[in-house]
């Protein structure tokens, strides 16, 4: 997708963002007044991951897998429970609000909800101009000029800077959000489901915009999505998350071609395909039940209760992301019984999940 993606795939790109054993828990009070339990939601459980300069790394998973929480930990909207986040070599894990400010110029976020990510009572020009205002970079006429420049860059009519978000469509509002994110020419942008809330015919426009901007501005993306067809199109590498843990990381071709982890296979097979022949022909793995609660995750491999291949050691032994079945270091999976190329995951009923 980008000119530098060749480097990334070959493993030459250096890491811009490094996650080391990141853990994020949320305390949850439950139980009655007299028997109050203090439990923790283990949203992110020991994630180590690198995002390489210039690449688009996708983070996929379903509800509750922790991908959004992880993203927010990276941009320090959350504090980490444990672990480290390094940005360009600097440890930002425990940096204070003030210490983080210079880094805020370099890493930004595009949000999912085009209706919630813009303050409805502020004008669009003011919203896009926020980064300039906050960091004292440009004022008055200069700021206006740069805001209008940004609007043109993302495909908006620069004369509309005085309008309110309510005057724009979903796709246009997302463009406003993108303009705001790139205002100070960051190095790294986390795109949290940027097109999920948009109409199908608009999605392609925004995806193309993101691709163009990546080329023009040399951006690095962490692209979060649950839509595997979009992910396949935009990413260089993909990391699959399940219930707070990363279960597989691979270059996009390898992941879609021969995923190792059973969950990845199940996810890929559930992906709706806009092609009636393929839809009929492909392998159908239908997992039963729903993902268990992050309050009380299963032991060992978190996927084992629903996995058709699970055996005793899956419940007891901890797992590490490592290359399996002769793969290179680029393709790692956390599974004791990974799937070989062409091996079909049986559609036999997985053990039913009792809720």
């Amino acid at each position: 997708m980008t000119t530098s993606s060749v480097d990334a795939v070959a493993g030459c790109g250096e890491a811009l963002v490094q996650l080391e054993h990141v853990v994020k828990d949320f305390p949850v009070k439950s139980g009655s007044f007299f028997a109050r339990k203090r439990e923790r939601v283990h949203a992110v459980a020991d994630v180590s991951l690198d995002v390489r300069r210039g690449e688009t790394l996708a983070l996929v998973g379903e509800t509750g897998c922790g991908k959004s929480t992880l993203a927010r930990c990276i941009v320090r909207l959350h504090d980490l429970t444990a672990g480290r986040v390094l940005f360009d070599g600097h440890d930002i894990s425990v940096a204070s609000h003030a210490e983080l400010r210079p880094f805020r110029r370099r890493m930004q976020m595009v949000f999912q909800d085009p209706y919630g990510s813009l303050n409805p009572r502020r004008r669009v020009g003011s919203i896009i101009g926020d980064p300039f205002a906050i960091h004292g970079v440009a004022h008055g006429a200069e700021r206006l000029r740069r805001v209008q420049e940004l609007m043109e860059l993302v495909g908006l009519n620069s004369e509309h800077y005085n309008r309110f978000p309510g005057d724009f469509s979903g796709g246009q509002r997302q463009r406003v959000g993108i303009a705001r994110a790139i205002a100070l020419r960051p190095d790294f942008i986390v795109c949290d489901e940027p097109v999920s809330a948009l109409d199908v015919s608009i999605r392609a426009q925004i995806l193309n915009l993101l691709a163009e901007l990546q080329d023009e501005l040399g951006l690095t993306y962490l692209f979060i999505s649950h839509d595997l067809s979009v992910v396949r199109h935009v990413s260089d590498r993909v990391a699959v998350m399940y219930l707070g843990a990363v279960v597989e990381v691979a270059p996009v071709g390898s992941l879609y071609g021969h995923a190792r982890h059973p969950y990845t296979r199940a996810l890929l097979s559930a992906m709706p395909v806009a092609d009636s022949e393929r839809a009929a022909a492909r392998e159908e793995i239908v997992l039963t039940g729903d993902p268990p609660s992050p309050l009380d995750p299963p032991s060992g491999c978190r996927f084992h209760p629903r996995c058709p291949r699970a055996q005793a050691r899956c419940a007891s032994e901890a797992l590490v992301l490592a290359p399996r079945l002769g793969d290179t270091a680029e393709h790692v999976a956390a599974c004791h019984f990974p799937l070989a190329d062409g091996e079909v995951l049986a559609a036999a009923a997985a053990r039913a999940e009792s809720l």
Partner: protein, 309 residues
């Protein structure tokens, strides 16, 4: 980029839209008109006095009272009759309007100011600051109004300033709670998260992101606070805790009228009617403002938002 269809619909900001909705609301127009009249009466009180030829404190013991000392009813000389001391009720009501509006609006404004600041701070910062501020608000809400007012006045003596202060003192906490609740929910919205990722400081977020979205409900609350403040002032002056006589206020007029209600109905009716009219007008306007600012309450509006998707 925009199709012809889009260009045809003018861009209107949220405030403009609200204003247009308000304009179309007949009850709001009626209430607003009534209030304009009230304000005019207050502003023009001296002119009214001059026109009728009677000052607010002038006692007309000869023409204003009957031979047996009973107030004179509505007549050509005294349009709304006289009070127990032969003073022109019309003129006194007009001057009393000044007191009511002044105290009502000032006290509400003060309450809203303090309540908004505290509410936003409590909602945004959360944690211990929130707990401290919330408990403070709870205490203020639990204090009994009249008892406290009586005690305060016993110490410093009655005056207009005391009225304003005491009423504001007892109103700010309810504003604070409402604002705090709103701030708490706004805090979780994505545009606030976005501001944080951009590196915005706390003050900026509270002032620029949260405040504009709280303003709508604050305005509604304020318009509903004012009639409450006016009634509170009337209560205080009824008990002699507000403005000092001979300065007229609706409350102290009603207090005086208690002795005369059997023989001088106009003395009770007109100040009471003035109070009622003003209070109802503010309430109606407040309701309409709320509807204008939050169209989801209006069933006929609900259709286009949902179904149009």
């Amino acid at each position: 980029m925009t199709t012809a269809g889009h260009a045809a619909i003018r861009s209107r900001g949220p405030w403009e839209l609200a204003f247009e909705r308000l304009r179309r609301d007949r009850a709001a127009i009626a209430a607003a008109t009534a209030l304009v009249v009230v304000v005019l009466v207050a502003v023009l009180a001296p002119a009214i006095a001059k026109a009728v030829g009677h000052g607010p404190g002038e006692q007309f013991l000869d023409v204003g009272l009957s031979p047996s000392g009973i107030p004179v009813g509505p007549s050509r000389a005294f349009l709304l009759g006289t009070d127990g001391l032969g003073r022109d009720v019309l003129v006194r009501i007009a001057y009393g309007t000044r007191v009511s509006l002044l105290v009502g609006v000032l006290a509400s404004a003060l309450a809203v100011l303090v309540g908004t600041v505290v509410g936003i701070a409590a909602g945004w910062y959360g944690g211990t600051a929130d707990r401290a501020l919330s408990r403070t608000m709870d205490v203020f809400l639990a204090l009994p109004f009249l008892v406290f007012a009586l005690a305060l006045v016993a110490v410093v003596g009655p005056s207009l300033t005391i009225s304003v202060t005491v009423i504001a003192f007892f109103s700010w906490a309810s504003v604070g709670r409402v604002v705090r609740a709103q701030a708490l929910s706004i805090r979780e919205l994505e545009y606030v998260q976005a501001a944080l990722t951009l590196g915005a400081g706390h003050a900026r977020i509270m002032f620029i992101e949260i405040l504009p979205n709280v303003t709508a409900s604050v305005i509604v609350y304020a318009t509903l606070l004012i009639p409450g403040a006016i009634v509170a002032e009337a209560t205080l002056s009824f008990l002699g805790l507000s403005v000092v006589p001979p300065t007229p206020s609706w409350g102290n007029m009603l207090a005086d009228a208690m002795a005369y209600y059997k023989v001088a109905w106009w003395f009770v009716l007109f100040p009471g009617a003035a109070l009622l009219l003003t209070t109802v007008a503010f309430n109606v306007l407040g309701d309409s403002v709320r509807d204008a600012l939050d169209p989801k309450h209006d069933p006929s509006m609900a259709v286009s938002a949902e179904e149009a998707r």
